[in-house]
C-alpha cells in the first residue's frame, strides 16, 4: 500500500498541476492511528499529506454530491465498495459523470479499530504495514505480525467487489475477489431473525431501535441517502418530533430501510458509524434477500444501466400480494 500511496500522490499532483481536475478527493492522515479521513486537495503542495492505508474506510463517492453539481471537475479515489456507491449515485442521477475522473483502487480490506483494540495492538502503535495476507503492527515495543483477516472489518471479509467496478484509471494490481467468509452467510443472521416469532422479532427490534438517539449518522453516511432534503428533515410533515418516542424511532428505521431498498449496495457503513451499535445491516440484508427472492439476484451499484427492481414493472414479476405466491407468508 505504501508503494501505491506514492503512486496516488503522483497522480494527484499531476492532475492538479495539469488542470485536469479542480479538486482531488482522497484521504488524509489524522492525529490518531486509526484516523484516515476524507480530504479535499486543491493545491499541489497539499498532496504530501494524502494517504492510503488500511484505515481509509470512508467512502468518498458521497462527497461528490455538491462538487459535481457546482460544475467543478473532481478526481476521486474509489475502493470496491466506493465504486458500487458511485454507480448507485449515478443511477440516482446524483453525480454528473462528465465532471468526475474516477481512480480505482483495488482494496485488500480495511482494519476494524475495535478488533485492534481487542487484541491490544493499539498500545504505542505508530504504523501498520501490509505484507501479503499479513499485517505488521509497528509499535514502540516492536513489530507484531497478525493475519490480516483477524483485524479486518467483518464486512470486508464478505466483500465480493474489492476491485472497483467503475474507474477511468486503475491504480495497482487487482486483488483476488475470493471472499474470506462464505458470501451467502451474509443472510444467515437474517434467517435467524426470520425464524423467530413475530413477538420475539418485535421485541428484538424494539430493544435495538430504542437505543437510537437519532443522530442520523447512518443516513448521512449512506450513498443511497443522497436526497436534496431528506423526508425526515421535513418539519412540515410531522413524522419525527424532537422528543424521544419509541414509535418514532421505529418509524425512522423502517422508513430508512425502505427508502434504500433495491438501492442499498450493502457496504455496511450505516452500522459501522452507528454510535449505538444498532445492527442496521440486518434490516438492509433482509430487504436485499427478499428482492433477490422476488425479482432475481440483484446487486445495487454493479451497473447503473440495470433497471432497479422496485421502480420497474415486468409482467412476470412476482405478485407477493397473492397468497401462496412466493413472498407473502399469509400470517
Amino acid at each position: 500500500m505504501e508503494k501505491i500511496k506514492e503512486e496516488i500522490r503522483q497522480i494527484a499532483r499531476e492532475a492538479l498541476t495539469g488542470k485536469k481536475v479542480d479538486i482531488i478527493l482522497a484521504w488524509e492522515k489524522g492525529p490518531l492511528w486509526y484516523d484516515s479521513y476524507p480530504a479535499f486537495f486543491t493545491k499541489e503542495e497539499e498532496v504530501d499529506s494524502l494517504t492510503w492505508d488500511s484505515f481509509c474506510i470512508n467512502n468518498l463517492s458521497k462527497y461528490l454530491l455538491e462538487e459535481t453539481m457546482a460544475d467543478k471537475k473532481v478526481g476521486v479515489f474509489v475502493k470496491g465498495c466506493d465504486a458500487l456507491a458511485f454507480n448507485q449515485m449515478m443511477q440516482d442521477n446524483r453525480i454528473r459523470r462528465d465532471n468526475v475522473v474516477v481512480y480505482g483502487l483495488p482494496c485488500p480490506g480495511m482494519i476494524d479499530p475495535d478488533k485492534v483494540r481487542a487484541k491490544r495492538l493499539n498500545r504505542g502503535l505508530t504504523e501498520v504495514k501490509q505484507s501479503g495476507d499479513e499485517l505488521i503492527f509497528v509499535t514502540k515495543d516492536g513489530e507484531i505480525t497478525v493475519p490480516a483477516h483477524e483485524v479486518y472489518y467483518d464486512k470486508c471479509l464478505y466483500c465480493h467487489y474489492p476491485n472497483p467496478v467503475v474507474y477511468d484509471q486503475l491504480i495497482g494490481e487487482k486483488v483476488a475477489a475470493e471472499t474470506a467468509l462464505d458470501r451467502s452467510e451474509r443472510f444467515s443472521q437474517v434467517e435467524a431473525l426470520e425464524a423467530l416469532s413475530a413477538e420475539e422479532r418485535f421485541a428484538y427490534w424494539d430493544s435495538q431501535f430504542s437505543k437510537c438517539m437519532r443522530c442520523f449518522a447512518c443516513r448521512n453516511v449512506c450513498p443511497a441517502c443522497s436526497c436534496e432534503r431528506c423526508t425526515f428533515d421535513d418539519d412540515d410533515l410531522d413524522i419525527l418530533g424532537k422528543a424521544r418516542e419509541d414509535s418514532e424511532d421505529q418509524f425512522f428505521h423502517l422508513i430508512r430501510a425502505y427508502h434504500v431498498v433495491g438501492r442499498c449496495i450493502d457496504c455496511g457503513e450505516c452500522s459501522r458509524v452507528c454510535p449505538q451499535d444498532i445492527p442496521l445491516e440486518k434490516l438492509n440484508r433482509k430487504l436485499i434477500k427478499d428482492i433477490n427472492a422476488l425479482y432475481g439476484e440483484y446487486q445495487a451499484g454493479l451497473d447503473p444501466s440495470t433497471k432497479a427492481p422496485l421502480v420497474t414493472y415486468q409482467l412476470e414479476d412476482a405478485d407477493s400480494f397473492t397468497a401462496g405466491e412466493k413472498g407473502g407468508k399469509g400470517t
Partner: protein
Amino acid sequence: MQRVGVFICWCGTNISSTVNIDEVVAAVKNMPGVVYSKDYQYMCSEVGQNLVKDAIKEHNLTRVVVAACSPRMHESTFRKAAKAAGLNPYLLEIANIREHCSWVHKDKKAATQKAISLTKAAVAKAILNQPLIPGEVGVEQRALVIGGGIAGIQTALDIADAGYEVDLVEKTPSIGGKMAQLDKTFPTLDCSACILTPKMVDASMHDKINIYSYSEVEEVNGFVGNFEVVIKQKARSIDMEKCTGCGICLAKCPAKTALSEFEEGLSKRAAIYTPFPQAVPNVPVIDRETCTKFRTGKCGVCAKVCPTGAIDYEQKDERLNQKYGAIIVTTGYDLINLDSFGEYQYADHPDVITGLEFERLVNAAGPTAGKLVRPSDKKKPKKVVFIQCVGSRDKSERGKSYCSKICCMYTAKHAMLLRDKYPDCEAYVFYIDVRTAGKGFEEFQRRAVENYGVNYIKGMVGKIFPTGDKLKVNGVDALSGEVLEIDADMVVLASATQAKPGASDVGRMLSISTDRDNFFTEAHPKLRPVETHCAGIYLAGACQGPKDIPETVAQASAAAAKAIGILSKSKLVNNPCVSQVDESVCSGCLACTKMCPYEAITEKMVEQKVHGKIRRRRVAEVNAALCQGCGGCTVTCRPGAIDLKGFSNKQILAEVDAICQ
C-alpha cells in the same frame, strides 16, 4: 382557522338504519374546526343542496364535508352546490358513510363509530384542502375504433354521420367480424349478410371513415381528447391502389393448403385470399406462411396473372402515427377451445361441430354451398343432436362460469333451419335452462318447439361414442330421470364464448381494466355501461361481455354517442388533482418517471443559487395534461418532493391521524 360545515345524509334508510345519525351529529360538533353541522334525509335533493348552499353563506363556511354516499355518486353534485355558494368546489370533501360503512356493516354501534371516524378523517383532510382551478386542453376531433365487427362498424358509422373523422382498425383482411360468418339471425331469421353487408359498404364509402384492415393498434399514449396511437399496417403484399379485386389471383394460386379462417376450417383457401366474397376492402392479402413464393422463392403466379401489377412481394409492415380524441374498443369475442371436452369427441370426430361451423354449413356461400351434409361423408343427416352450455355456466377449470347468452337462441335457430331444410330429420336439444329474455325471443324459441317439432330435453350429455357411422349420444333426461341414447348423425355444440385471447394485452395497452374472464370492465355496470375507467375510451359489443347482435348494435350507438360528446367539444376541462414537483426538494432520481403509467413525468435541468454558488442539477417535471392523478409517483418519491394536488401527503396523513386518534 378554517370554518368547517358538516352535512350528514340519512340516504332515506340506507345510512340511517345502520348508523345512528344523532350520535354522528353529536360527535361532529366536537371535531376541531367544525362550526356547523346538519343532517337531512336526502342531502342530494334540491332541499338538501340548498341546506349546504345556505349554510356556506350564513355561517361563512370555508370548508364543507358531506357525509353521504360514495363520491362517485354525488361529489360533483355537492361541488356544484359549493360553487354556487361562492366556494371553490375543491374545498368540499365527501365522507363515504354508505358504501364504506352502512351498506357493509350490520352492527349499528360499530357502524356508527366507523361513520364518526370517516367523517372525522374527512374533516381533517378538508381543513388542508386548497382551492384548485382546472385547466383546459384541446380535443383532437377524430375517433379511433378498434375492431371491425358489427359493433365497430356501427360505432364508426354513427360517429362519422355526426361529422367526425373515424379510423376503423381491423386485424383481419376484411371488416365484418363474426356476424359476416353467420347464416341467419334470430329472432327474425333474416340473412345475416343481407343486413350486414350494406353497413360494410356504407362504412367503406363514407368519406369520414378510413378503414385500416389487416392492421393492429400497437401503442396508445396520451389521454382523453389527445390520444397518440401507433397503428401497424401489416404487409398485405398487394398494392391497394392498383388492385381491382378481380380475383384472378385467388383462382390461379396453386398453394391451396391453408384452412379457411372464415369457413371455420371446413374448407381450404389459397395463400392469396380474400376471406369472403363481400369482403371490405375487396383486396386480397398474401398469407406469407403458406405462400410458395415466400416459402421457397419460386412461384410468383399471382404476380404473373395480375392484370394491374398490384402484387408486391417486397411490401413491408408500415406504422402510422395518428392522434385521436376518443377511442372505442370493439374487439369482439371468440369461442372457447374444446380440447378439454373430450367426452363430446369434437377434436376426434368431424361430425361433431360447433354452432359457428353449423352456420357455415347451412350458408349458401359456405363450403357446401348451403347443402347441409355431414362433414365426414357428405351425407344428409337424419338425426342431429344439439348440446347447449358446452363450457358455459361451468364453474370447473375448463369452462366459464357465465352464461354465453346467445346459444339458447342460436340453437333454436339452428334446429329450425334444420327442420326447415329437412322436415324428416329429427332434432334434439339438450339444455340446462332455456333463456330467452329479449324482444320476440321467447316466441321464437316456442316456435321451434311447437311449430318445428324440435325435441327439447332438459339434461346434459354424458358422453358421445362414435359407433359405426353414428354418434351414440348418451344423456339423461333430468325431468323423467330416463337415460337416453340417441343414434345421431351429427352433433352441434353450443360452445361457450370467451374474451379474445389478447384482450388483457389490449387492456394493458389502453390502461383499461378487464374482469376475471378478461372481458373489459365498464365504468359502472348499470349507469356507465359503455364507458371505461379511462376517460375517452369506450366499449361496445362482446368484448365487454357476451352479447347478441341487437344488444351489440345498441351499445355501439351508445358508445358512439359518448365519443361524439367528447369530439363535439373544442376544449376539455382538466382534472386539477394532478401531481406537482417541489423542485427545491426533488433530487432528480427520476424514480417517478419510471413508475408513471401515463408517461406524464419528464426530466429537466435546473440551476439553483445556494450560498452564492450555482448548482446545476436534474429534477422531475409533471405534464399536467398527461397526469391522471393516480398518485403512484407520490409514494415512489422518497423525499416527498412530488405531491398530488387535492390528495397531498399531508392531507392523507391528517386523515390517518384523525382515524387513529
